[in-house]
């Protein structure tokens, strides 16, 4: 295709791209407008200046800093702990090839596809009995197990390919099993482990259903829960809604930009989920 046809295809693809990005632009534009400016100029005008009071007001109203800390604490802990558990499991399954490993792997895989709805009420009930209800710890424990189920499945396949000669050499040199894990297997698998850790972090950050059920007090809420619960509240007006959307978008886009290189390498890893 030559001439105008060639540009028509590109134009269509660009128009679609603009549609996809449009909501982000609208949110950014209107989060920095005053209420008066929004009602007189509408949503598509460029802001006359940087009016940050709407964002500041919303930030203070929901104590957004606290929500960020909660989300970071939960997602960060889960990412680290779930990788540790995944490595331990995959070491036993992929390298140790313990008996019954296939059924264990299937079990982990099924656990990963199960809807959280089928675990939610018993988890809620048990957490209450144990005094863990409405604590961030409860979320850390539950999501560590859920993410590790996926991590084990993936990592067992990776470690199944681990060169045996290296481990045999280490054994001859007198390295114990735990030493072989920490000194050889972990350092060599580091690229896969870091991809896994980033995915666990982001997946946990994005979770909504169980955090909504478990974290009922304001002090414990994560970013998506706090924003999701406030959506459509009566006192929210256009600029405040926009500010709330912006505060949800910024960390997510920031993580994406920070982790982009590792992620594009590992995006096919995520595809298995």
């Amino acid at each position: 295709m030559r001439g105008p046809g060639r540009w028509a295809v590109l134009a269509a693809l660009v128009v679609l791209a603009v549609v996809m990005v449009f909501p982000f632009l609208v949110v950014a534009l209107n989060a920095v407008k005053s209420r008066e400016e929004y009602s007189s100029e509408g949503p598509l005008s460029l802001p006359g200046g940087l009016y940050l009071q709407g964002v500041v007001d919303f930030w203070e109203r929901v104590d957004f800093g606290e929500k960020l800390v909660n989300s970071l604490l939960i997602s960060g802990s889960v990412a680290v702990l779930a990788v540790v558990l995944s490595v331990l499991n995959a070491y036993a399954l992929g390298i140790g090839r313990v008996r019954g490993r296939l059924s264990i792997l299937v079990l982990f895989l099924v656990a990963n596809t199960l809807p959280q709805e089928a675990l939610a009420y018993p988890l809620y009930y048990l957490a209450k009995e144990l005094g863990l209800y409405d604590t961030r710890l409860s979320m850390i424990i539950i999501f560590t197990v859920i993410q590790a189920a996926f991590g084990t499945y993936l990592l067992s396949a990776v470690l199944g390919q681990f060169p045996k000669e290296i481990l045999e050499a280490a054994e001859i040199d007198g390295a114990g099993r735990f030493r072989a894990l920490t000194r050889i297997v972990v350092p060599i698998s580091r690229p896969t482990l870091s991809v896994l850790m980033i995915f666990f972090f982001i997946w946990t950050w994005n979770e909504f259903f169980l955090p909504l059920i478990f974290l009922i007090s304001n002090d414990n809420q994560t970013v998506p829960v706090a924003l999701g619960v406030l959506q459509g509240e009566r006192y929210m007006d256009a600029t405040m809604s926009s500010a709330s959307a912006l505060l949800g978008i910024v960390p997510a886009v920031a993580f994406f930009l920070i982790f982009q290189r590792t992620l594009t390498r590992g995006i096919t890893v995520g595809a298995v989920k």
């Binding site: 949110v27 009420y121 999701g228």
Partner: protein, 285 residues
């Protein structure tokens, strides 16, 4: 090598797994055979909850809506994603450079980086009937999420927007594998672009198409966040889905037994769908 002693490494996970997944799942199954408000002793009612489900209009409606969301979250994004990936890879990449293709791909992918609940927050304000940006920008007065005839279509459109980038990225990664010689040969034979997509691209990236369809279908069956944020299943039951329906029974109506039965059916459907996909994929090989 000695094999004994590896169980030690598995022990912490198996214990946690038992407590967080196995026991709760069995409890949920057990509770689904009872009538229980969440306090006191559950009363055994056998299959009553399941019998009630079969006659519950809301339950059937919620699955009907679920099918609509599978269309919006799995089928439509896969089809559009296929065309976009092929166009970016085979057309834009070759004629306008890979940087242009990568930039467009990144723009399509952007919604995917959001937590799905935040995507709901974004659209919740954009579509607000009185002050929302869409109505204001286009001079409309539609109640996008509050009109029973419009709500489901609106939610579907939002979900297409949210999901689209995922197949585009996965398919483009898969296309890296395809030997360009196929395309050159087909082009020489005078095959149109659409024919090349259908006869070369689709068969070559079949595994990716399977993965995308499976993961997106499961995501659609589990969908909760956007429904909670945008419509809470309403207006009426226009956007009710099983996941939100079970949540409602658990935490607002105190019908824990009934909620457990819904959740069990949902789990069963998801496991069966996964199993079927894997069977078909196996046979394809």
């Amino acid at each position: 090598m000695r094999r004994r002693g590896y169980w030690l490494y598995l022990a912490p996970s198996l214990l946690l797994f038992l407590g967080v997944i196995v026991v709760p799942f069995l409890m949920n199954l057990g509770v689904s055979f009872t009538r229980w408000s969440g306090v006191g002793t559950p009363r055994w009612v056998g299959l009553d909850n399941y019998a009630r489900l079969l006659e519950d209009e809301r339950f059937w409606l919620s699955f009907q809506n679920n099918v609509a969301l599978i269309v919006a979250m799995a089928i439509v994004p896969t089809v559009i994603g296929l065309v976009l990936a092929a166009a970016l890879f085979d057309y834009v990449g070759k004629r306008f450079g890979t940087r242009t293709a990568a930039a467009l791909r990144a723009m399509y992918y952007l919604p995917q980086v959001l937590p799905v609940a935040v995507a709901g927050v974004v659209w919740g304000w954009m579509l607000h009937p009185s002050y929302g940006a869409v109505n204001r920008a286009f001079g409309l007065e539609l109640d996008w999420l509050g009109d029973p005839d419009l709500a489901l279509a609106t939610v579907m459109a939002v979900m297409v927007w949210f999901q689209l980038g995922y197949p585009v990225v996965i398919f483009m990664a898969g296309l890296q594998r395809v030997d360009p010689a196929y395309y050159e040969a087909a082009e020489l034979d005078g095959a149109s672009w659409w024919r090349r997509v259908w006869h070369i691209t689709v068969p070559q990236i079949r595994p990716e198409i399977f993965v995308v369809l499976l993961t997106c279908t499961i995501a659609a069956l589990k969908v909760f966040g956007p429904i909670f944020v945008l419509t809470r299943g309403g207006p009426g039951n226009a956007t009710m889905v099983p996941s939100y329906f079970s949540y409602l029974n658990f935490f607002q109506k105190s019908n824990v037994g009934y909620g457990s039965a819904i959740a069990t059916v949902l789990a069963l459907i998801i496991v069966v769908v996964t199993f079927l996909f894997l069977r078909v994929q196996e046979r394809e090989r």
